[in-house]
Each structure stands twice: as structure tokens, then as C-alpha cells.
Assembly symmetry: C2
Homo-oligomer: 280 residues x 2
């Protein structure tokens, strides 16, 4: 499938791209962003896939995180997909919520009508996105890390715990760490997957760890003034599951930081350097 | 006048504030942003006033430029006002343009009805904003620099050329350098000040330089892929005026960069270090 260039802009000596393509897994046209650092002109560079949170598009991280600066310095590409299918005919939350439907794909493959036709964001991220860029010689898919924020932190953790050899490093800012046990996650998993909770388990980082999933380079980040910490995010549940399973997970707590992009921007430099240490 | 706190968020070890206040010069409630670096907890810090461009609010630079990181490192506060009066009863462009009225105050004091009641953004920036923060002991108004982008670059240049002792350093990204001789500027100056061109001259950097204005720390920045360069921005007119007047102006040209915040973000680090060298 061809990639259409939506925009191409110089940034930090590299190039900030926005592309569109027809994506078979989600049966619609998808938009995503790619930052190529200056080093990409000389040969393939490692990739950090960034998964955004509720209400976001490809644009939020691209414009608000300030990540291109350090990615340019480190010679890492940033790949930033949208958070849900979009367009005419894509069903939204019937209740009009921000936490389901458009902007809230939760990186699952929906099985429940009417969402099963378009809401296959897991497959989109795992298959369509690499396929769309397969011929781009600047990108080294053998050196792939994943990171994300909130719902996207959940996406990063579950993708990497299911395929630790494919995603060589995973970090998550304020992830929804135990979606089966929080209101955001339960609404999404019920809506996309139906009431059979066994089907939810591969989309819950705690459950994956309990069932033996492992990752050697896994970093969690959490602000302690995050208003969603107790009810929605629950990093301590993941720490407990990991502890019980004998898995080492590093949690960096940030005193006074909330859930916003000011928080992400404050620590993205640290995360990208950590990814680079695992990818380069 | 009291300041109302709209939001207070931790960022880069400092605090990102958004405030509202009733501003007498513009006869309305104004919103502005202030970033205080960690050093502000220990004593007064220098200030860089940032003036934004057409269509912006206090928010664009705050969320898109990534400036807090280096401001935190350098111990500089960032002060980010809105670009026009706002609210019920504030007249907008009768033609609905983005380049006049709301979001387009041009940092002038309007004299033409119906704009003369609210559109006094020069006085707002020069008087109301410092007055609103006068009792804030974290800020050192004796060490004040000014920067801005596009319309805000014009604002920064004209403020600093009129009062070089007050603004000890001035830098401008892609400024509207000769508003009397470009469509954006002519529309704004005609609309706010009327047809008597003599009244326009104190709002045109080229005219100020021709009339003897001087500044010892003045830096211009310009991307050479900026689509507004030839018709609207005209930095070469300012260079020519400065050359004729015997004034040294440094212009840093950026190959391949456009007019966006990716361009601003790419070089804000360099600008703030330049300001710091003059302010600290």
C-alpha cells in the first residue's frame, strides 16, 4: 500500500513526517507520524514506537513531548501512530465518552460488533504499521523499542510482554497497568471483547506477568500527583505481580508530577537514553 | 489586582503556572502562563518574555516549544502572555480573518474604534503584565529579555528597540520585520491605528532603526524554507536598515526550516542560552 505524505518538516536537523495510508487491519485510512533523526540519512537507525493515551492522535506526542531533540542526538527514529481507527463509518462510544471508541482503541483486536470491523489496533500496530514502512531503508526493525503514556503505556507493556524478542526495550509513563481491574480498562475490554474475561487476559500487563511473560528491559514511570493513579493506573498491582513472579521491574516515581505532557516531556529524555542503551 | 491560578503543574523540576487577571489596559480578563525554574525557589531569577504569533494564545509556546527544559537548566523564568484581548464584547476581524482581531493584537495600542477600547496589547505587555506579577519575589525585572515568533517577533523587536534599557536582550524567530510594508502588517496597522502612516512608525522595527533606535543584544533567526519569508517577514529589510544606520544585527539563517513550532523548538535552546549570557 502506498504512503501519502501529509507533511514533511525540518526539526532538530532531522525530518518530522506525517503519513497517511489505507490500513487493512482497521479497514480505514490511518494517519501516523515518523521522526527521522539526522543519522537516518547515513543508514538504518533504531526505532522507538510511541503509543499515545486516551483522546490523543498521532499529533500529541509529536508536538508536546519535545522528544525529537534527544532522538536526533541519539540517532533514534520515533514512530507515532494514532490511537484508534478514524473516518466515516467507524463507530464511536454510544455514550459519547472520551474513554471508548474514537481516540481510545486500547491496542486490542475487538471481537464484539460493531467494533470488530475497525477496532483492531493491536493488529494495526503489530502488522500494518511495519508493513507500511517495510521498504524504508532508514529504519532498522531489528532494533525496536516501545514506549507510551497512560492507555499507550498499557499498549507498550502488553505488546512487549507478549513479544519480548521483537520489542527489545519497553518503557511506560503512567500506564494503565491492570486494565481488568480499573474503570477505564473494564469499559474498554467489555466493549471491544465482550463479557468473557478470559479473552481480556492478553491485554492486561499484570495477567501476562502472572502467566509467565518476561521482559529483560522494562521500565515504568509514574508521577505521584497523578489524579488517575489510585483508581485507573495501579502500577503497584504490576509490581506485586512481578514480585510474585520473580520478575524485576524498575519503577521511577516522580514527586509532584501529574498525568500531563509536562510530565512526559520532563522525563522523555531519560527514557530515550535508556532505550538507546538497549538498542544501540 | 489579584491573580487567579488556573493551573499549576510540575515540569522539569520547576512549576508551569497559568494565571488569569483583570487587565485594565485591555478592559478584559486575560490569561497568561509563567514557568518558574527550580532556581526561583532560592531567589529572583531573570525573565524571558515570550510573545507569540498570529492565532496563538498563551498556550502554544508553553506546550510546543520545549523551552522549559533549558529554562530550568539555566534558571530563567518564561513569561507567556496571550496575543490579544478576549471575551464577550471584544470585537473581532469583521472579515473573519485569522490575521486581525482575536489572536492578532500585533502588540500595538489601537486608536481606531471599535478596537481602541480593548486592543491595547502594547500597554498590556508593558504595564499590566509586570504589575500583575510585581509582588512575586521569584522574578527579577531588572534582568528582562524578550523573544517571540512571527507577529510576536515583531512585538519583541519593537518593544526592545523602543526601550533597550528595559529589555536587555531581544531575539526574534521569523519576525514580521517590516510590518508597514507587508500585507499582514498593513492590515493590522490600518485597522488598529487608522490611515495616518506616521502613527505606524513606532510599530515597525525598520522604521525604529531608521529613526535611530539601537540595541546592543539583538538576534534574528529565520528559516529559509519559511513560506512567509518573502511576502510577510522581510528580515532583509531590517538588515538593510540596520546596515544603513550602522547597527550590527545578527541574523542566523536555518536551511530547510519552515515557520512552525518545530522550527522554534529546534533553536529555542540556542536562543535561551544566548539570553542567559546577557541576563546572568
Amino acid at each position: 500500500m502506498p504512503l501519502d505524505v501529509v507533511s514533511e518538516q525540518r526539526a532538530f536537523g532531522g525530518t518530522q513526517w506525517v503519513f497517511q495510508h489505507v490500513a487493512p487491519s482497521v479497514s480505514c485510512t490511518m494517519t501516523f507520524a515518523l521522526f527521522e533523526p539526522p543519522a537516518a540519512e547515513r543508514g538504518p537507525v533504531p526505532i522507538v514506537l510511541w503509543l499515545s493515551g486516551l483522546t490523543c492522535t498521532h499529533e500529541n506526542f509529536m508536538t508536546k513531548a519535545g522528544a525529537q531533540r534527544v532522538a536526533a542526538e541519539l540517532g533514534i527514529a520515533l514512530l507515532m501512530p494514532d490511537t484508534s481507527p478514524r473516518g466515516d463509518g467507524v463507530p464511536d462510544d454510544p455514550d459519547g465518552g472520551y474513554d471508548f471508541g474514537l481516540g481510545a482503541g486500547f491496542y486490542v483486536d475487538a471481537t464484539e460488533p460493531p467494533f470488530d470491523r475497525h477496532y483492531r489496533m493491536r493488529r494495526y500496530v503489530e502488522q500494518d504499521l511495519p508493513a507500511a514502512l517495510a521498504e524504508r531503508s532508514s529504519l532498522d526493525w531489528q532494533r525496536l523499542g516501545v514506549s507510551g503514556h497512560s492507555m499507550g503505556g498499557h499498549g507498550a507493556l502488553t505488546l512487549a510482554l507478549r513479544e519480548p524478542d521483537r520489542y527489545r526495550s519497553v518503557s511506560a509513563f503512567a500506564p494503565i497497568a491492570n486494565p481488568m481491574d480499573c474503570p477505564w480498562g473494564q469499559k474498554a475490554l467489555m466493549g471491544y471483547l465482550g463479557g468473557e474475561r478470559d479473552a481480556w487476559r492478553e491485554y492486561d500487563a499484570c495477567e501476562l506477568v502472572r502467566r509467565g511473560a518476561r521482559h529483560e528491559a522494562l521500565l515504568i514511570d509514574q508521577g505521584d500527583a497523578d489524579p488517575f493513579l489510585e483508581e485507573q493506573l495501579k502500577p503497584d498491582a504490576l509490581l506485586a505481580a512481578a514480585d510474585h513472579a520473580g520478575l524485576a521491574i524498575e519503577l521511577r516515581r516522580r514527586p509532584g508530577y501529574d498525568h500531563s505532557y509536562f510530565y512526559v516531556a520532563s522525563f522523555i529524555d531519560e527514557h530515550l537514553r535508556w532505550h538507546a542503551a538497549h538498542l544501540t
